[in-house]
Amino acid sequence: MNDMAAIILISVGVLFNIFGCIGLIRLPDMYNRLQAATKCVTLGCCSILLGVLVHFGIGSAGFRALVAIPILFFTATVAAHALARGAYHFGTKMDKRSVKDDYREAVK
């Protein structure tokens, strides 16, 4: 029963990681790719870590997996913010389909 749940959680995690990777290839510009990279990959990894917790049960390895989840959330969001901001200041262009850019005036 436990093994089954662990396998399902880890499979879901891997599936979302794959979606994130497809997004990295398909989406047009840096900022949109960042969206796929942060969202899908973060929740995918959390799902894998939960699978690890279910598999090993409450114990040394399980708690480490559990502690890794909030760390992953904080670092992934901060990294996404830093990358987006850095890319904008470096001058990375937004895709042609973009309809709005309020940030331009603020940076000047």
């Binding site: 510009d29 900022y31 502690v67 913010h81 987006a84 709005k100």
Partner: protein, 161 residues
């Protein structure tokens, strides 16, 4: 008092990661936590007595549930946009005003926005947050401010401000 809070939190963290309750391990953790508290203590928790109010914890739980639900929705949203043959995107950067005052609350709000469907916080200047949105659904500032910050802002205000 602030230093003590950081010390206690780092100690709990250490014990969870190592998960070994022997004397040498706890002593090593105490030393490491003390160094952490001495260096970073002054950056966090300007009013530690907020930790002792149960009402704030209640709102924190409400926030956490909303946040996890938004995360799961965000994943399906991105998966849908990525896998759809026509790729329905309409990206842009919008400006959103926040009413939160403390740095900690603003950081939490920015992180929550990054994990919710289709939005990433690019920068915060003064009161204004600049947010990259993968599919702009509205042109009206009042409307999209409510769409993006949503219920997060009011929950965070209740437990972190």
């Amino acid at each position: 008092m602030r230093y003590v809070t950081v010390f206690i939190l780092s100690m709990i963290f250490w014990l969870l990661i190592t998960f070994k309750f022997t004397i040498p391990n706890i002593a090593a953790g105490a030393v490491a936590s003390a160094i952490t508290a001495a260096i970073f203590g002054r950056y966090y928790f300007y009013n530690v007595y907020k930790f002792l109010q149960p009402r704030r914890w209640l709102w924190f739980v409400v926030y956490l549930v909303t946040f996890i639900w938004a995360c799961i929705k965000a994943n399906f949203d991105v998966a849908y946009r990525v896998l759809h043959p026509a790729m329905p995107i309409k990206p842009g950067i919008v400006k959103v005003k926040t009413t939160l005052r403390s740095e900690f609350a603003r950081t939490l709000l920015a992180n929550s926005i990054t994990m919710t469907p289709g939005t990433i916080t690019v920068d915060i200047i003064g009161d204004e947050m600049y947010i990259h949105w993968i599919y702009i659904r509205s042109e009206d500032p009042a409307l999209y401010t409510r769409m993006i910050t949503g219920r997060f802002e009011e929950y965070i205000k209740k437990f972190a401000e």
